[in-house]
């Protein structure tokens, strides 16, 4: 296929494609050698059975080592359970979240925690809280008339 591509356009496109390739290589190396992936998971769960399925029957923090926690969180209209969590600074938290009703989001502003919570599935993500402070878990996917009220607190001491 012969396309009339002037010399300057060739330079421009080469530069553009080169930049895109550099971006992709950087995020690809970060993803696959440093294991920096966005949230996900492949496990499924029956939304109506969350209240009798561990660990979501008792939402909360489960210590799993020194400064290591698993946080089992239920995102439901219009609250997160548990409504408050406390951890020491420097703790690594492994979040596991699910929803008994509609789609929710779980975001903690000031961190990279940003997960979409889909009923019927579990979402997981791990994050280390290095700095003390009051963090908020807020819902960032529209879930109904009380969506703007859906928040809970994580206190890092």
């Amino acid at each position: 296929m012969k396309i009339d591509l002037p010399r300057y356009e060739k330079i421009w496109i080469t530069f553009g494609i080169g930049t895109l390739a550099a971006f992709l290589i950087i995020i690809g190396v970060m993803a696959f050698t440093m294991d920096l992936h966005p949230p996900g998971d492949n496990r499924t769960i029956i939304p109506e059975a969350i209240s009798i399925t561990p660990p979501f029957d008792k939402p909360g923090l489960y210590p799993s080592g020194s400064r290591n926690y698993k946080a089992a969180i239920v995102a439901k209209t219009f609250t997160f359970l548990p409504t408050e969590m406390r951890i020491p600074a420097g703790s690594t938290v492994h979040f596991e979240v699910t929803s008994p009703d509609v789609v929710h989001g779980l975001m903690i502003p000031g961190t990279n925690v940003n997960m979409l919570v889909v009923p019927g599935r579990i979402t997981q993500f791990t994050y280390t809280f290095k700095h003390k402070g009051n963090y908020y878990l807020i819902c960032n996917e529209y879930c109904g008339s009380g969506h703007q009220l859906m928040a809970s607190r994580l206190i890092v001491e």
Binding site: M1, K2, I3, D4, L5, P6, E9, W12, I13, G16, I17, L20, F23, L24, I27, G28, M30, A31, L36, H37, P38, P39, G40, D41, N42, T44, I45, I46, P47, D101, V102, V103, G105, M107, P109, G110, N112, N114, M115, L116, V118, P119, G120, R121, T123, Q124, N134, Y136, I138, C139, N140, E141, Y142, G144, S145, G146, H147, Q148, L149, A151
Partner: protein, 565 residues
Amino acid sequence: MSQAHPGYDGAVLHDAKAEFDAKDKAMIKAHLAFAYISLGLGAIAGLLQALERTGMVISLPLGTGYYQLLTLHGVLLGLVFTTLFIIGFLHSGIVKTLGGAYSNAERRVAWVGFYMMLIGVIMAGLMILTNQATVLYTFYAPLHASPWFYIGSALLIVGSWVSGVAIFMSYGRWKKANPGKPAPLFSFMSVATMILWIIATLGVAVEVLFQLIPWSFGWVPRIDVELSRTFFWYFGHPLVYFWLLPAYIYWYVNIPRIIKGKIFSDSLPRLTFILFILYSIPVGFHHQLMEPGIGYFWKFLQVILTFFVVIPSLLTAFTILATFELAGRSLGAKGRFGWVRKMPWGDVRFLAPVVGMLFFIPGGAGGIINASYQMNQVVHNTLWVTGHFHMTLATTVILTFFGISYWLIPALTNRILTPVANRLGILQTVIWSLGMLLMSVPMHITGILGEPRRTAYTTYGNAPLAEIWRPYRAMMAMGGTLLFIGIVIFLGIAIYLWYFAPKAAQSIEYPIGEVNDKAPAPPPILERWSLWVAITFALVLIAYTVPIVGMFMNPSPGSPPLRTW
């Protein structure tokens, strides 16, 4: 102001035959009227919800809820205004470049498409107004809207396919009459746009017809939410290219005429549109990076394909600027940047889209950030994303659509874009740009600071977090108000051009650029649609087969319908 340009006062062709066929005119005008009414209503909803969410107005008139207005705003402006305007514009250019009129059969098909869309929009709109479909324009299951909302949406989609058939029929008729000749650029691009649209909407059609409608009527008890989201986003990303491509048509085909230049190349624009068909569809996962049920490898693969779709936009940036420079030089510009001053800055038909192009530079860069896998965690579902698509769709694309309207309405009503209307249009462009800067830049900032999108006014119980957002919210409210004023001025000019502007003595020109004589003829392979469609489907199969089979092999238990508003 330079008189050298075929501007508002020079856009008269001394050729009566250039006028549209009366029946085609009526059909195109129906599309535009429908689009502008949606624009006005969507803007009212936009103003009210902007004031609500920034805390400027707490109780909304008639007891409407924030999310109901947001649904109305998104559906009317994102889905209805765009689709109707685009299809009306494509019909006009197809008629213009493929022989001057639709055949009776083609026009009948175009009307059928129009009425299907009209009935669909009325159905879906009534459900939103009666609060039976407060599900936002993404209608994510298991939020349960009235079945008639989904049926209305399906009619809008299928109606747009029928409109595409009218375009394909006219194109086929021209190709038969002109064997071996490359189709005129406008018609090639229209066909490419409709091919992209039909392949893309297959995803949402499957979701609506096979998942949402049976489930919302209660014929099946549960819905696989992740699967429905995957079908939605298979459509949701190419949707933005369906908005963008008609703007590119204007930049590539019509603007060269307005600046007294020539189309720089006959092949590159075609290649650009082919690349959009190939790479805008198998990329929906970059909207689903934060969710479960999709493997990392597949998410990353679609991130790579998403980056490929930047290439045709880079090609466009170069080609459009080269067209401007060559036009300026042919008008006698000297020096490296002398051509800039030869551009008709005082002509709103040029100024509005060019301001839109400038906004596309930060807008496109923001898009690359959104698609950058881990970086998406910082911005996903925050107000940053709302800022991003207001800077791209609502600025780049919509300013271009304003620019098109300022000559398309005169061409259809045979009235003159008077100097006063032109100046008002320039004022409108300035107000729109300022409004969008004041709204979308703070949206980007508060998004980074953690303010979520699609959320009513909230302080999370006077959280210090929300306190940081306050000054930005005030700016957004001001920006939203300016944007509403911009729409009012635009609709005022549109009504003037439609009913009141002075009649032209001769036909108003429909600006179609000529191709530069030195540009070689486009290679015939670019018009081998079957080849490009086949490659597109191959890419879609590569990007989607394994993840979707995975969702069937490891299905979620599904969700019953829920109404949470």
